[in-house]
């Protein structure tokens, strides 16, 4: 028995399931398209699962062990422990977030140059036993690319 169907007037042509002969045969390219789109969506959904979050010290503590991006500042009143002669891959300092909570941060890498002058830190890592084990960090002040117009303006008046 032949099923007679009329293509819907408003259907999106790419997903048109009916061919001219009005059978339910799809073109190979359309099948491939659907498969690829399904794969792409699956891939993107799994990507969403991998996403991390920006956190404060308090919220990072709640997610102990989970990978987060901690946004904080260096506590400049406390010493930064870094002695490359003993170990160039160990640095310890205190970070404070905007809410005033602070945490010890351990960073197993070399100290970024002029770390003490940074204004803001994005610390990537996780809380482990009350300490933040940092795997990677971004510093706000030594931005290589962004020129800070305002900072330049301040220079102008300060000089």
């Amino acid at each position: 028995m032949q099923i007679k169907t009329k293509p819907l007037a408003g259907a999106i042509p790419l997903f048109q399931l009916t061919s001219r002969r009005n059978t339910l045969n799809m073109k190979k390219t359309h099948i491939a398209l659907l498969i690829f789109i399904a794969v792409a969506i699956a891939v993107l959904v799994s990507y969403m699962g991998d996403l991390s979050t920006y956190d404060t010290v308090a919220s990072a503590r709640q997610k102990e062990g989970k990978f987060v991006h901690l946004i904080a500042k260096l506590d400049k009143s406390q010493p930064v422990e870094y002695d490359p002669v003993k170990n160039p891959n160990y640095m310890k300092f205190i970070a404070v977030d905007t809410l005033g909570h602070s945490t010890v941060v351990i960073y197993h890498n070399s100290k970024p140059t002029d770390f003490e002058k940074s204004e803001r830190l994005v610390l990537k890592g996780s809380m482990q036993n009350g300490q933040f084990e940092c795997k990677e960090m971004l510093m706000k002040c030594p931005s290589k690319y962004k020129e800070d117009v305002q900072a330049n303006g301040t220079n102008l008046t300060a000089n």
Partner: protein, 815 residues
């Protein structure tokens, strides 16, 4: 107030040309658009008007650029552009880099290239001139608004590159004085960002922007086809242009990768940074479109897909421009422009192309010719279409991953961030894209259009398949891939990718003889695909077998890092003058030197010698002082190149850049033989006192008056070190030579000989005592394949451009 010493004429001229460029492009757009619609006799007049207006626009844009260069070259620091982006010590080539450091300059570069492309396009006086040029002129118009610099209340249209410093910072008190230019802060500019002070930065943006500007051509032709209702008539003449765009954009992207590799320290040539993705995605979509275009030219299939891809190519170029320039990326990118307050304008620029493009495409979709009978599964066009689809979707996925987080956060106010390993999030998807594309690229060459007999295909394609398999197996068993950090599954995918790359490489080079009978003229595609194979193989080997050489192996470090196993211990401390063990090498930090008067660059001489003494060489990684009032340094790597690998090094920490004050002082201690003195991390024993020592570094004669204290330093951890300070008399004066125990930060002097067989030792503990650097060293095997593959691919594109141009001309003559 009359200010003294300002040069206002160039700025006024420059601004005049900015306005002229804007007006001329508007007229060109209007005139060309009228020409498309007008009846035959009117048509020519409109077209002539459009042409003249476009030429004026292109020349004006060029003059704007010339004026900026003039200002920058003459150090007219009253102009904000010169003051903010340059300084007197910049060499001329970096003045160019300084011009495209700012948004205005990079838009200008784009606009110049688009002008040049327009001038070349309008030389061809056919029915496509008017609609194509209308689109190009419109794009030129929108670009011109980017540097017009009009302000209506809160709304800012464009950013004027000729604004003066005193206009920019009108509040600064210094501008109360008419002679403000004499003030020291106006005598020099803020300098070029240190990362941009690299020759790649001089040449790669022009190439990249040439490619980006050229993506307007396929878009303009696709729109022109719809406009003229000659939907497929343009595909042959546009093909060389599209190939050119892909070649320039591809080359520009890889030159950017070379810059990142040489100048940045993320330890590689690709990091899936939004700026990199921004130029990659338009390229992917463009290449997808080129393949469907070739399919259409050969078979009549895939015209709809071609039109769709080309409409999107330019939109992607604009979208990525929006992403990187608007500042929405914020923390997720290390390098994007700072927002210049033109986000709305950038978004409009995108929407004004995307929305009409998509609407036109949708309205005309049904009318765009297509062949009802579908492609055979054994046909080349079917698999080329599949490949194009994969490329396109890969671009979509990359775009989504790049832009989801910042845009989603902006809209919802949530705080999502990139995944833990953002590079892997891309790699684990794109490796499969690479496998599929490479296999298709290799196999599709052996398929014929319309239909391929199974036996013919197998007869010709078994050999390249076998050869590729053999090479891959040989490599796998001899060298292998060593990236197991992401588990066996991903490593397997890498091996598969390696094979796919080898296959596409072998299959395409063999096809030149087995399929084209050695006709090199027609072999452009095969060469480009071969280059792609080389590139892919290079990427997979270099990235998976990248090795850290500077692993911290020296004994004193280990106890400080209880979690050493799971953490990268990739920096090695080198104490000045001390030979240090680094895997297969002995490494010595010899000294450092700055090369120019401002001490903006400090070179560190690092001597490397293989332990089997087969080779010794010197690396000069350096640090550049940051510009623009920031006090830190940036590191600049140095590499040693071999045919099959690079040794890549950079200074990850250097002590004297902090210029810490040495506040520690010497403390005197009195000892007898056998006595001990304590210091913070252990104690020192006086073993004996030797008169006139002639051992080690000392060469005293028996007639001298010298005493050496033989000491043993014992640290808390039980390490023992020898120290031998000397006290001697010369010219009737007492002098002493200190000895140091670097690893204990201990300096010891033998300062006095006292009565009762006692001596006085001076001990100092200081961290600032020893000059040292922390060094990171990588080995990149077969990185040259990446660059070689790029060059071959571009060469293949160029061959195709020449070949297709001839084909297009022949077609025009015959028809």
């Amino acid at each position: 107030m009359n200010y003294i010493g300002e040069h206002l004429l160039p700025g006024q001229l420059g601004h005049f040309f900015v306005v002229l460029a804007l007006v001329a492009s508007a007229i060109a757009t209007y005139a060309y658009a009228r020409s498309v619609q007008a009846p035959a006799d009117d048509e020519r007049n409109w077209r002539r008007m459009g042409r003249v207006a476009f030429i004026i626009n292109a020349c004006s844009v060029f003059l704007v650029f010339g004026t900026i260069f003039y200002i920058v070259y003459n150090h007219y620091f009253e102009y904000y552009y010169a003051w903010n982006h340059t300084s007197r010590d910049l060499s001329t080539k970096y003045l160019f880099a300084a011009i495209w450091e700012g948004q205005e300059g990079s838009f200008l570069l784009w606009s110049i290239w688009q002008g040049v492309i327009g001038l070349l396009l309008l030389r061809r006086r056919n029915k496509w001139e008017a609609p194509v040029m209308a689109v190009v002129a419109f794009s030129q118009f929108l670009l011109s608004t980017m540097f017009i610099g009009l302000v209506f209340g809160d709304v800012k249209i464009g950013s004027n590159p000729f604004v003066l410093v005193r206009e920019m910072f009108a509040y600064a008190p210094v501008f109360q004085r008419p002679d403000y230019l004499m003030m020291p802060q106006m005598q020099d500019g803020q300098g070029l960002g240190q990362a941009l002070q690299n020759y790649w930065m001089v040449i790669h943006p022009p190439v990249l922007f040439l490619g980006l500007a050229a993506t307007i051509v396929p878009f303009a032709y696709a729109i022109a086809g719809i406009w003229r209702k000659d939907y497929g008539g343009w595909t042959k003449i546009a093909l060389p242009w599209n190939l050119f765009a892909a070649a320039a954009l591809g080359l520009g992207i890889m030159m950017g990768a070379a810059w990142a590799y040489e100048s940045l320290t993320f330890g590689g040539f690709w990091a899936w940074d939004p700026v990199e993705n921004a130029s990659l995605v338009p390229w992917l979509v463009l290449v997808a479109g080129i393949h469907t275009q070739v399919v259409y030219n050969a078979t009549g299939h895939s015209l709809r897909a071609t039109t769709f891809f080309f409409v999107l190519t330019y939109s992607f170029s604009l979208f990525e421009s929006f992403l990187t320039r608007s500042g929405v990326l914020g923390d997720s990118s290390v390098h994007s422009f700072v927002s210049a307050g033109m986000n709305l304008q950038l978004l409009l620029q995108l929407l004004l192309f995307l929305v009409p493009g998509i609407i036109l495409f949708s309205i005309h979709y049904k009318r765009i010719p297509h062949i009802a009978k579908e492609e055979e599964a054994s046909s080349r066009e079917f698999w080329m279409f599949i490949g194009s689809l994969v490329l396109f979707l890969s671009g979509i996925v990359i775009t989504w991953q790049t832009s989801f987080t910042p845009i989603y956060n902006k809209i919802t106010g949530k705080t999502t961030a990139m995944p833990e390993d953002p590079e892997f999030a891309y790699n684990k998807i794109q490796i499969f894209v690479a496998i599929v594309i490479a296999l298709l690229t290799g196999a599709a060459q052996y398929l014929k259009y319309k239909k391929t007999g199974k036996s013919v295909f197998l007869k010709k394609s078994w050999l390249p398949f076998t050869i590729a398999l053999a090479i891959t197996l040989l490599f796998s068993f001899s060298t292998g891939l060593h990236y197991d950090a992401k588990g066996a599954g991903f490593l397997g995918a890498l091996y598969l990718g390696l094979f796919a790359g080898m296959y596409t490489l072998v299959a395409n080079i063999m096809y030149i003889w087995s399929g084209l009978n050695g006709r090199m003229k027609a072999a452009g595609a095969s060469i480009a695909h071969f280059g792609f194979g080389v590139l892919l193989v290079g990427i997979i080997i270099a990235a998976s077998n990248k090795k850290v050489l500077s692993l911290n192996t020296s004994g004193i470090m280990l106890r400080f890092a209880p979690s050493a196993k799971q953490n990268p211990m990739e920096n090695l401390t080198l104490i000045k003058g001390m030979k240090t063990d680094m895997g297969d090498y002995w490494t010595t930090y010899v000294n450092n030197d700055s090369t120019n008067a401002h001490a903006t660059m400090i070179y560190y001489r690092i001597d490397m010698a293989r332990k089997d003494s087969s080779e010794a060489f010197t690396l000069y990684p350096n640090l550049i002082r940051n510009t623009k009032g920031q006090e830190n340094f940036s590191n600049n790597p140095d590499s040693r190149h071999y045919w099959n690998k690079d040794i890549f090094s950079y200074i990850s920490y250097a002590d004297d850049i902090d210029k810490r004050e040495d506040t520690a002082t010497f403390k005197p201690h009195t000892l007898k033989l056998g006595d001990t003195v304590y210091y913070s991390n252990g104690f020192v024993i006086l073993n004996k006192v030797v008169p006139n020592p002639a051992e080690g570094k000392y060469h005293f004669a028996p007639t001298d008056t010298a005493l050496m204290a033989d000491l043993t330093v014992v640290s808390k951890e039980g390490s023992r070190y020898g120290a031998k300070p000397v006290f001697y008399v010369e010219d009737n004066e007492a002098r002493y030579m200190m000895d140091t125990v670097f690893s204990q930060n201990l300096a010891i002097g033998f300062s006095k000989v006292l009565a009762n067989q006692q001596i006085e030792l001076q001990l100092k503990e200081s961290k600032a005592m020893v000059p040292y650097v922390a060094l990171k060293v990588y080995e990149f095997p077969h990185i040259n394949l990446v660059w070689l593959g790029t060059l071959i691919t571009v060469a293949g594109f160029v061959m195709s451009i020449i070949y297709r141009r001839r084909q297009g001309r022949l077609k025009a003559v015959n028809s």
